[in-house]
Symmetry: C2
Subunit: 224 residues, 2 copies
């Protein structure tokens, strides 16, 4: 028993759930979630495929654990600021984290039971809203609304076929605009052209909607 603990403490040699899950995330970041197989993951860890099953019951559990680590990376709403800036900070952090692990958002649809980090996160957000004067019901509404926006934005961002502003300009000019006939899609053409001219920044786009939602929620507080 103490032997195992020693082993786990030694971070270099010997496997551990921690090590397995962390490496799985690295692999998924690098190769996408389709490139993550138990055999490849084991290879990456210098182990046999079946060894992984001493630390995770099956692949589903591995995926659940990966998602929960991702939630751990998201900043909790800070307590010392107003509710709006607290919510803004955690939402911005969530977007960043989800954008850096694009596979995570696609996985969420299929995982139904929230992990501990997820629960801690929800608790902290709900606490922040309640302390800011929202009723139980309003806090629920706000939660759904904000989470929907964050996840939906991340989902759309993940399905964009480019990562940088330059790539966006190139793709739009070379691929999208040519295949969008101006007769059939006049408004999309107009909007694509405007975007190329004005530049493209998902972080800015995100803030726009976020602040609009936060401002619209403000008057719904039952300010004591």
């Amino acid at each position: 028993m103490s032997a195992r603990e020693q082993r786990q403490a030694a971070s270099d040699a010997g496997l551990s759930k921690q090590r397995v899950v962390v490496e799985a995330i690295r692999l998924a970041d690098r190769e996408g979630v389709d490139g993550l197989s138990m055999r490849r993951l084991a290879g990456e860890l210098g182990a046999g495929a079946m060894s992984l099953y001493h630390y995770v019951a099956n692949k589903e559990e591995l995926l659940d654990a990966m998602i929960d680590i991702v939630f751990e990376e998201i900043e909790l709403p800070p307590e010392e600021t107003g509710w709006q800036s607290a919510m803004r900070r955690r939402a911005v952090s969530a977007r960043q984290v989800l954008a850096s692990h694009p596979w995570a958002i696609g996985l969420m649809e299929s995982r139904t039971s929230p992990g501990p980090a997820n629960l801690r996160h929800r608790e902290a957000v709900t606490a922040c809203l309640r302390r800011a004067g929202f009723t139980v019901l309003m806090a629920t509404h706000a939660n759904w609304l904000l989470d929907s926006y964050v996840y939906g934005f991340a989902l759309q961002e993940a399905s964009l076929p480019f990562d940088t502003a330059d790539e966006f300009t190139n793709m739009t000019e070379d691929v999208f605009l040519p295949q969008l006939s101006p007769d059939e899609f006049p408004y999309l053409n107009e909007s694509a052209a405007a975007l190329v001219a004005a530049g493209y920044d998902p972080a800015e786009e995100f803030i726009f909607g976020l602040d609009l939602i936060l401002a619209a929620l403000e008057p719904l507080r039952a300010s004591a």
Copy 2:
């Protein structure tokens, strides 16, 4: 050539891309996206697995086609009403459609090129917003915001482990509340209890956030 057309016209015998994709959607609705394999799909159609490859280049293309059919099911914003009720109608329709094909939302992350129905939809939405007086830039913002909300809501809804209000009450009382220690998660307990008491209706929850967003967008029109 005319032979093939005859064949395709006869809807009963003979395959066709249409028939393949429609059956694939039925299968995914029934068994989830993991239950959709080329072999099973072929079996469902009374054909051999390899026959499908005469109508779709590969499974990726099949998935793309499935998603596009789903987009076809979503109501376009009606032209004869105000922009708010037009947007509300199409958003409500989108939620309904995505809720009835829960696999679709999880697929979107991985498909990067929008199909024709998707494009038509975006064009119609953008047209509606532009005609309502939003600038090109504002229409883009509104598009991102509304789509993020709709997709994010659908994503959260799809990851709920229950479908009906009764199931929700049961799950919450029997499964969630017992495993949420009131000390560690006081606010989640409070909110779960309130939800059980008040009843649960995703459609209503959706409307709340939707109307809040629409109202917040209203003053941003450059009303001519």
